[in-house]
């Protein structure tokens, strides 16, 4: 059973092992390693990139690419910085509008790719620029106001969350005790990933996403809903990206229409997808694998803080890790017998 899972998810397994080694070593070297405070801080810093990596994964599974994920995240963060405050009802409404905006943006990407017949890379490059433009209109200067209680509750441990909102006897309830030290951001990431992705994977449309990346012609003659799957993939991409943006706004209590940052997030999302073991040509991999890939990227950056390494070296080292990880996946090309297939 485990052997079969390993055979089918080699890239994911390598990613988990790599992350475990990196993270344990990091904690061993850290002066306050294995403490809740460090874990909470680490978790907080990985949420935005984690969601953006998840967003990127769904189109990549079909052999596509979404260059707008970073921009949609930025747009969502700017919307949230305006709307997520006030009464509880207003906060919930603001969060809903934020997520709806990003999701509709992804839906529009899907329509452009399917019915506009525009190549995904160009379509999302253009809509990404549009998203940044809208973000600048909403927030010409960095700033904004996000509900402080919410910010505190979502960026700390389960106990802090319960304490802030007076739930489970202010966090003292006996049944809650095993969980009080888990960072809320970690639960949010993995919770949303599992709640959204695992059911979708088990629908015909979700399976079609994999089928398109694996063999689109075979998917068509087998009567699978190809257009619906493509639209769903980009819509999900928009949804996950807006989750990232919403969290970023809550975490920083502000919004910032930063084009450079958006671009960096998009590129890092592709790196995280590859590190997680999802094939760039599509067909195999998954959203949760990319989440692990994003965590790997983040852990690498944590090392620069505790080891006295020049931060200027960070891109170089990330690049080397990425190359090493990808070369695991390149093994398959050696077994191709007709070299013309390498070019197809």
């Amino acid at each position: 059973m485990i052997g079969r899972w390993l055979a089918g998810n080699r890239g994911f397994a390598v990613a988990i092992a790599l992350f475990a080694v990196l993270f344990v070593t990091y904690n061993l070297m850290h002066t306050r390693g294995f403490s809740t405070a460090v874990l909470v801080q680490n978790a907080n810093e990985s949420v935005a990139i984690g969601f953006v990596a998840m967003a990127q994964t769904v189109p990549v599974l079909m052999g596509g690419l979404d260059l707008s994920v970073g921009a949609v995240m930025t747009l969502s963060a700017c919307i949230a910085s305006v709307m997520v405050n006030g009464t509880m009802g207003e906060i919930v409404f603001g969060a809903f509008v934020t997520l709806l905006a990003g999701t509709s943006f992804g839906f529009m990407n899907g329509l452009l790719v399917v019915y506009g017949r525009i190549q995904a890379i160009i379509a999302t490059l253009a809509t990404g620029a549009i998203a940044i433009g809208l973000a600048l209109l909403i927030r010409p200067e960095p700033g904004g106001d996000v509900d402080g209680d919410l910010g505190w509750a979502l960026t700390n441990t389960v106990w802090d969350f319960a304490d802030t909102y007076g739930l489970a006897q202010g966090g003292e309830a006996a049944w809650l005790q095993p969980f009080i030290n888990i960072p809320v951001p970690l639960i949010l990431q993995f919770g949303i990933a599992c709640l959204v992705w695992l059911p979708i994977k088990r629908t015909v449309t979700g399976m079609t996403i994999y089928a398109i990346g694996s063999a689109e012609g075979a998917a068509f003659v087998s009567g699978l809903p190809i257009n619906r799957a493509k639209i769903l993939a980009y819509t999900l991409s928009g949804f996950f990206a807006s989750c990232g943006g919403l969290y970023l706004a809550i975490q920083t209590s502000s919004g910032n229409a930063d084009m450079v940052q958006a671009g960096a997030y998009t590129l890092n999302s592709i790196a995280a997808v590859v590190l997680g073991g999802t094939a760039l040509l599509g067909g195999s991999g998954g959203v949760i694998a990319s989440l692990v890939g994003a965590l790997i990227l983040r852990v690498i950056s944590f090392y620069f803080r505790i080891l006295d390494i020049d931060p200027l070296l960070q891109p170089l080292i990330e690049g080397l890790v990425l190359l090493a990880a990808v070369s695991f996946g390149a093994g398959r090309t050696f077994s191709i017998r007709n070299r013309l297939e390498l070019f197809r």
């Binding site: 079969r4 055979a7 089918g8 059911p199 088990r202 629908t203 015909v204 399976m207 994999y210 089928a211 990346g213 694996s214 063999a215 012609g217 075979a218 998917a219 068509f220 003659v221 087998s222 009567g223 699978l224 067909g283 195999s284 191709i336 017998r337 007709n338 070299r339 013309l340």
Partner: protein, 500 residues
């Protein structure tokens, strides 16, 4: 006889101006296994794609159980009980066997796919095709080709077909699996399922089918019951075409020194020990039905394939070229199967394409000599009579025939001794075809040797000094001079023994 389950009347379909089907009337009945026979390009695949809803007919009507039917897509046809197993497998390599078997209509629980039921259903249909050894949880990618074909059959069965279309469904199967499929088909027949069976293996057709329909050049020629026609008559029905092309005269057969000797060439399952000798100044034709290893043979000789086993000598020098660049260095040239992707860089100019393989001939110390390029291109345009406004136009602006001439010109610039042509006249008008035949003969007279695969037997008869016929990756027949006749070629292609 009862009313037909499927009836086509006056169905036509064309692709890019070329008629694939013309006014076809065709009927299939419940409880019948119906063979569809025809040469390459006879329209068999187009016919079944229309029946299966993959293509839409331009004119004509299809009736299903007497009611008019027109399918918007493969799913609509499947809902009507028409299930097709395509030659190109319709399995998704990255999904499991179980997921593939119930791909478009999986069992559900609470709206989500029920994995356990999916596996149970897969186990059940796999048992029906006696493939208990296939674990439904393995990825299709990890199965051998013959197992994949059995899974494809299981997938079709799992969709409860009323009309089952098998397009070359047995081409990769082992003898045991073929027997399983035979048993299965007779059981389905007893259940009243109508099967349409396309196979290039005459003995299979004779064993399985009760009705046969012959197609030729997109037309339905004749339908008859099994046994009503002899093998020789069927072969004649499949041929019977007008001779439309003229060929340059062939020289009298002479003894020729060998420039290419190949022994026991094998690769994967496609090639199983091909041996051949190509003489200096000879045009050696490669015949046989599509997909018997002809394309792979040319690719193997040009160093494209990995893991080829063979003893090869080019101009007396032993060894198979390990890559196209080395093949070129040993005076080989290959005009590939698909000129649009493998033969040309479509967006580059005619001139750029023509020198693409011969930069070493026009460069001095790594710098391209423009005057030499211009001279060579002028010569190439003249020799091949390429009809173009300017050699600086994009090659995509040319007609198919002139594009193919550019591919040929590109390779002639390398001054090759052995020219391999992979179906060079595919999709080319008749006038250009004749020019290409003339050029081929001219090249042979200059002392170059040509290895010529064509899916059109008439071209082999008209051009080749000698023809080898491949069947299942082996040479089953060699024909020389006057012995190269259509009857002999078709009979050898079907491997009917010594019917001709």
């Amino acid at each position: 006889m009862a009313a037909p389950i499927i009836a086509l009347t006056g169905v036509s379909k064309s692709f890019a101006g070329i008629r694939a089907l013309e006014g076809v009337d065709f009927a299939a009945f419940a409880g019948s296994t119906h063979a569809i026979l025809g040469e390459n390009g006879a329209g068999k695949s187009t016919l079944i794609k229309i029946i299966a809803g993959v293509l839409q007919p331009e004119t004509g009507e299809m009736r299903l159980n007497g009611a008019p039917g027109r399918f918007a897509g493969p799913n609509a046809a499947a809902d009507a009980g028409i299930i097709c197993m395509f030659q190109e497998l319709s399995l998704i390599p990255d999904l499991t066997v179980a997921q593939n078997i119930s791909l478009s209509r999986p069992p559900r629980r609470f709206g989500l796919i029920d994995r356990r039921a999916q596996i149970l259903r897969a186990e059940e249909v796999l048992a029906r095709v006696r493939c208990e050894d296939v674990d439904p949880r393995t990825l299709v990618r990890d199965l051998s080709l013959s197992r994949r074909q059995m899974v494809e059959i299981a997938k079709a069965l799992g969709r409860d077909p009323r009309v089952l279309i098998l397009d070359e469904a047995t081409s990769a199967l082992t003898a045991r699996d073929v027997q399983t499929v035979y048993d299965l088909l007779s059981r389905l027949k007893a259940d009243g399922v109508s099967s349409l069976f396309i196979s290039h293996r005459m003995h299979e057709v004779e064993e399985l089918c009760d009705r046969l329909s012959v197609f030729r050049n997109g037309r339905h020629i004749e339908t008859f019951a099994k046994g009503a026609r002899s093998d020789a008559e069927i072969v004649r029905l499949m041929i019977g075409r007008d001779v439309t092309a003229k060929y340059p005269p062939k020289p009298a057969p002479v003894a020729r020194p060998a420039v290419l000797q190949v022994g026991g060439l094998s690769w994967e399952t496609a090639l199983n020990g091909v041996s051949l000798t190509l003489g200096r100044g000879e045009i050696l034709g490669i015949g046989g039905l599509d997909g018997q290893g002809q394309k792979e043979l040319l690719l193997a000789l040009f160093g494209v394939l990995r893991g080829v086993r063979a003893t090869v000598a080019v101009n007396g020098k032993p060894g198979l070229p390990a890559a196209p660049v080395l093949a070129k260095a040993r005076s080989l040239a290959l005009v590939p199967e698909d000129r649009k992707t493998e033969g040309l860089m479509l967006s580059l100019s005619i001139a750029e394409n023509m020198v693409a393989a011969a930069f070493d001939k026009v460069a001095r110390g790594g710098i391209i000599d423009r005057t030499r390029v211009a001279a060579l291109i002028d010569k190439g345009v003249e020799v091949l009579q390429i009809k173009a406004g300017s050699v600086d136009d994009a090659v995509s602006t040319l007609s198919g025939g002139n594009q193919q001439k550019v591919v040929l010109a590109k390779w002639l610039m390398t001054d090759p001794q052995i020219i391999m042509l992979n179906d060079p006249t595919r999709g080319i008008d008749i006038g250009t075809k004749q020019e290409i035949f003339r050029i081929m003969r001219q090249l042979a007279e200059e002392g170059r040797s040509i290895l010529f695969y064509s899916s059109d037997y008439a071209e082999l008869i008209g051009c080749a000094d000698r023809v080898i016929v491949l069947y299942d990756g082996r040479v089953v027949r060699e024909l020389t001079g006057m012995a190269i006749t259509e009857e002999a070629l078709v009979a050898a292609s079907l491997n009917t023994g010594d019917a001709a």
